[in-house]
Symmetry: C2
Subunit: 756 residues, 2 copies
């Protein structure tokens, strides 16, 4: 049963997983090159040289990443998620599933992440997953001119949509190592249509993607084979693994609630500012008239952000004091590269100050690594800001999430980094480079979460997990995790998928309830203030998106109950329609006059009667029919039996997505319209009409009309009267909020006036 | 926005959570009473007394639990899940949301689980959650005659359905401590209609339920306060917490695949046998004629199972040898009640043989608990079978899942227990007691999973997690977990929700991929052989269930493509309909003649024309109208303007679910039909007709008709011709597999014949 669909899902999963592996490794290579060398320079106390190296390499990477986007494939900018969501909602967005876009996206994303911009690879990974689903699922390519013979049955819009959803889910699964989270993300955020059978197949696809990525990542680091192929080590495939488990206390729900409120407010602020920046950018670009000027302006933006970021990373730490390695009631020891606290309680296993950044801080304690003995390092110092800024984003998040490190970060460094990172991340999202928001969201959330946790430590002191378990929840690292979830929730307004993703990337089920509370509160608070970021971007990008349920505000205040209105209140009328047997000239006229994508077909059963609704035909089908002169006939009335089988066009000929030569068609149409000969040439549409087109009665509730239109994924919905005569057509645009508001409220006012 | 809905969701969550807490505590009290006393008797070497005690108490509990179900509320039998699923699919199932059913279910479930039958509390918890959602959401009770004034706006079928879904989800969340799993379970298995807004609210409901259960459970054990109120200890609220984390290896996918195949086959066998038993039971009951005989027969069944189970639990262990406490390359030590292995590697923390059952085995080593020193216990013995059978089901699963206990169980005990438990669990599910399947499924799966794991240990030796990490995955406990997931999957065919539940109840994200593989394979294999258990039970209980997509087999072999058929092929015709203005006698006649739940209303715009489809009216609305003689009118044609506002019935009067006196109505109807006076009395239905009723054209694709019918949750769908005249009606029954098969295939054959 359906084995080919499973094979295809497996193929998509594998390809997405392998792409994820490649991206991961490329970023590793570039990032290691940058940071290793810069640490060497720092070790030689050459701060300026360090700055030069960091700045030079990063700016070079950004120029490559941004230049490719600007000059080769503008559709590869940003995360690509709004476009993907819009496409799956039923809007055609151009260029987003190209091979060129895919390649540019891959390189641009690798450059952006490796350069150290405040961006992550997750969003682009999702878009790339969608592209793989779209391309591989069809087994053909317009760019390459390929059209392979297998899997031809998937070449229809429903399967294409499903494969894109699967690919997007696999993208999440591969990027986060979170197969269930990927599935839920595809369901909650990306897709507009869903059924349970599909969810099982996407589950498989996500699983294959995760296994593939983990399998290859298990043995490679920066493309260098490290052994242990096939061993999925937890520290590698659970990105932000939490090691110290802490029992949750009911009192902890209070700070989690506070974090949720903060997340909702800061997330809304982020969305608000991001949109402001985007509007300002658009205004500025509109003022610039020259072709090259526009592009250079677009490119200069990420470069400018990069310069600020690199400068901050190198020089900002120097503005802060060095912190001595310290432990509560105990001495510090060094094991290899990490420091631990050796106390009376068995905190030996906890990596207390795991791989902190020393930056330019003095290191008096000589570590005796070679003979294996551990020396006390109480004189050693590290730099807090460098530990957060002078590393990759993922490492920074690791530091923030680390447990039992109660005093690792103070307020001043945390708040300073928060201010800088928030501003730059908000600015960067939307600039002309392929970038995702997840890492910045986790980072920002982790920062203020840790501040709240620190506040608790300052107020109530340090409590270890192996001490009094009742108070162990006051761990800044744990609150950084909750904060990250709350900010992610405040920006994206995801719920289930976000919860599962947070669990899957940290391997900590214990904090599930606290995370849920924070996400829930963040969504509540955020929804009062702004739209979720992806939906706001959809609006900004003018992609018409139909929500699952219509919420129309009347005069911007009270919601309008659409159950009290009916379909005819919202429809466009009069509708342009075609008769079942129509002169060629009329059809040409219609196609030239209107840009609609589909037309209702009407037919009178008895001559002389008013024609009733018969079905729908798309613009493309009409065009193809007019291109084939052999279907023209001089007889006007053609009964079903009299069809000449030879002139009947094949389904594959009629059902095309794109015309080969649109210009030729235009010429032909003009000819048909002008030449009087074609007024007596008829086309019988009967074999090509979609008779399973729905229609609604004019008095049908507008609310339910919306639901039907949305959940059936329609493009045109004819409105008929009691006699089944077409009196209007509803399209996506008619059902968009602004249009409904205008028409319904207008009618409302009109009625009120006439009542007076 | 919608705050009252959130309050209601919170209330439902809290109530379900508190019910879960109460159930948990009651079971604790009863089970502790049983096992503690029996262990005391065993300690005194009184095997027969033990047997008497276990048997007596258990049988008493079963008689209470089963008697209440048989005599008070037969709807409380079993898990209640099929009924719930059927109800949410759109079928009215009687008695399942009663207060009486709720109380009986609670007590019966507590008795069944505490008695030691091979059943779990999870299924009933879900049903009880649904009942709470149904009752609390409406804020009224038919049984108690209550009808509170608040939350009246939720008294409609859509909200009721949503609250039931939420309650069911909360039931899972409370039973497993798995809020996300509960949400997904409600979505994947329980509900037929879903939207994303709903999922967010149910998410909240599940969260509240989990928090409530965990909060109260945190401080109580068998209703005795234990301190630490509000501290959510992981060992308590993560039911089967896994403590030793093991890195996964790619090679481990092979045994996971094997386990998946086993799970699919054994799960199908389970379903098959369970149905066979159910059919046999029904046959036997049909033969018994007396009222009391039937009931006693029903009651004797769980009692018989209980006798077998209790006897096996007490005497079977004695048939097996005692096993010495042994460790690989190390000595055993006792810390309190548990034994650990003290080796060179730091396995000190792992509870090696956690609280094994000694049963009648000799205990030579004197443990020196009091002065705190640990004594070597290599002479101590324990009984493997008793460790699995002489405990509650949950404890047994704990033992099976325990990690780093490579040699705790041998093949013979595992396989013996497997055979006994499989048979009894399969028999018990479906008998007249309130019982769930989850614990037995996990137990059975854990047993054969552990056998496979043991096989690997026998073949390749013992590998510890802190030894060679590459081979550490060969842990029988880990394979017990995968086996449990595979059997659960093989029986229920759940995917996403099962995966998340397994993660949430074990707190082990590392095995996620292996669990996914096992579940996926189990579903594939299982779907080849039998239906999922809940769907099979739906069929057995004759609940008409519409699947998400129609799969109709033609002659039992090839699937039929419903796109090639149209709505008129499946409809029932001619349809009985009413005119917009109809004589009272005609309506009475119609109601007496037909049992339908709704009728199409037709109306001719111009006198003399054939009437066209106008809307739908339900049977209940017609009945209510006929009960109010003031709406009758002698004029036949009533225009909209001429309505007498005083005789217009209020919406709340017309929209009722149940008539107060059905007998009186029958008398009235007969009077209306016979008395010629009522042939000239008319009712104008115009104000009461649902004008937003959908209809489909007779040539509309049958496949899409099915999808629309199913996804819009319809009960009647009129079929019209081009002139909008009603020519037939589609109902749920017309779209059931067997009916479609009959009609469509019949038509198919008929066509073939006429073609010849």
């Amino acid at each position: 049963l359906d084995w080919d669909r499973w094979v295809m899902m497996g193929l998509i999963g594998f390809t997405v997983g392998f792409t994820g592996f490649l991206l991961h490794q490329v970023i590793d290579v570039l990032a290691n090159l940058k940071w290793d060398r810069s640490r060497d320079y720092l070790g030689e106390d050459q701060l300026l040289v360090t700055w030069g190296w960091v700045l030079g390499l990063s700016v070079a990477l950004v120029i490559v990443g941004s230049g490719m986007v600007v000059f080769l494939a503008p559709a590869a900018a940003g995360s690509g998620l709004p476009e993907l969501i819009g496409y799956l909602n039923g809007t055609v967005v151009h260029q987003i599933f190209n091979i060129k876009t895919f390649l540019v996206k891959f390189i641009s994303c690798a450059c952006a992440v490796a350069s150290g911009l405040p961006v992550g690879p997750e969003g682009p990974m999702i878009h790339m997953g969608g592209m793989i689903g779209a391309g591989l699922g069809q087994f053909r390519s317009g760019t390459l001119g390929l059209r392979l013979p297998c899997f031809a049955r998937f070449r229809n819009s429903e399967d294409r949509r499903n494969f894109i959803s699967a690919g997007a889910g696999a993208g999440v699964a591969s990027a986060f190592g979170a197969p269930v989270g990927g599935l839920l993300f595809a369901m909650e955020e990306v897709s507009s249509y869903w059924n349970m059978k599909l969810s099982w197949q996407i589950f498989f696809c996500c699983m294959v993607a995760t296994v593939t990525t983990d399998l290859f990542n298990s043995a490679f680091e920066g493309f260098i084979y490290k052994g242990d192929f096939g061993l999925f080590k937890a520290e590698k495939y659970i990105i932000f693994q939490v090691k110290s488990e802490i029992a949750v206390n009911i009192i902890a729900f209070v700070p989690a609630f506070v974090l949720g409120v903060l997340g909702g407010m800061l997330g809304s602020l982020f969305n608000f500012l991001n949109l402001k920046v985007a509007r300002f950018r658009r205004m500025l670009l509109a003022k610039t008239s020259s072709y090259c000027g526009k592009r250079l302006l677009r490119m200069s933006e990420p470069v400018l952000i990069m310069i600020l970021m690199a400068t901050a990373a190198v020089f900002l730490p120097a503005a802060f004091d060095c912190t001595p390695v310290r432990c509560e009631e105990a001495a510090a020891v060094a094991t290899g590269n990490t420091y631990s606290c050796l106390g009376e309680t068995s905190r030996l296993d906890v990596e207390q100050l795991s791989a902190v950044e020393t930056h330019t801080c003095p290191q008096p304690g000589v570590r005796s690594d070679e003979n294996g003995t551990e020396s006390t390092l109480n004189g050693t110092t590290y730099n807090q800001v460098a530990t957060l800024m002078f590393v990759t984003g993922e490492e920074g998040i690791h530091h923030l999430f680390s447990r039992e490190t109660h005093r690792q970060f103070d307020y001043a460094p945390l708040l300073t980094v928060l201010a800088i990172y928030f501003t730059l991340a908000c600015w960067c999202a939307g600039s002309a480079i392929s970038s995702g928001l997840v890492v910045p969201m986790l980072f920002i959330g982790g920062l203020y979460g840790r501040v709240i946790g620190q506040l608790l430590v300052t107020l109530f002191g340090v409590h270890y997990a192996d001490g009094n378990r009742y108070w162990a929840w006051m761990d800044p690292g744990a609150f950084a995790l909750i904060g990250a979830a709350s900010f992610f929730g405040g920006v994206s307004r995801l719920t289930m998928s976000l919860t599962v993703i947070m669990i899957e990337i940290t391997n900590d089920v214990q904090f599930l309830l606290l995370i849920m509370v924070a996400i829930m509160v963040a969504k509540w608070v955020g929804d009062f203030v702004t739209h979720p970021i992806y939906h706001a971007l959809l609006e900004l990008k003018c992609i018409p998106f139909l929500d699952a349920e219509p919420v129309i505000m009347h005069d911007g205040h009270e919601p309008l109950n659409l159950e009290l209105h009916c379909a005819e209140d919202a429809m466009s009328s009069p509708a342009r329609m075609v008769h079942l047997v129509e002169p060629v000239s009329n059809i040409a006229q219609l196609l030239l006059d209107t840009p609609h994508g589909g037309y209702p077909v009407v037919h009178a059963e008895q001559p002389g009667e008013e024609p009733t609704f018969y079905g729908m035909i798309t613009r493309m089908e009409l065009c193809v029919l007019l291109l084939h002169e052999e279907v023209f006939d001089t007889k006007e009335i053609v009964t079903e039996a009299s069809f000449d089988q030879e002139t009947l066009l094949d389904y594959n000929v009629v059902a095309v997505h794109k015309l080969q030569d649109p210009d030729e068609l235009d010429k032909l149409l003009t000819k048909y319209r002008k030449d009087p000969k074609y007024q007596t040439q008829f086309v019988n549409l009967q074999p090509y009409v979609n008779q399973s087109a729905s229609s609604v009665h004019k008095k049908f509730s507008l609310h339910r009309t919306y639901i039907i239109f949305r959940s059936m994924g329609m493009r045109h919905l004819p409105v008929v009267d009691s006699g089944n005569h077409v009196i209007g057509v509803l399209t996506r645009k008619d059902l968009m909020g602004f249009s409904l508001e205008e028409r319904v409220v207008h009618r409302h006012r009109h009625q009120e006036k006439s009542d007076e």
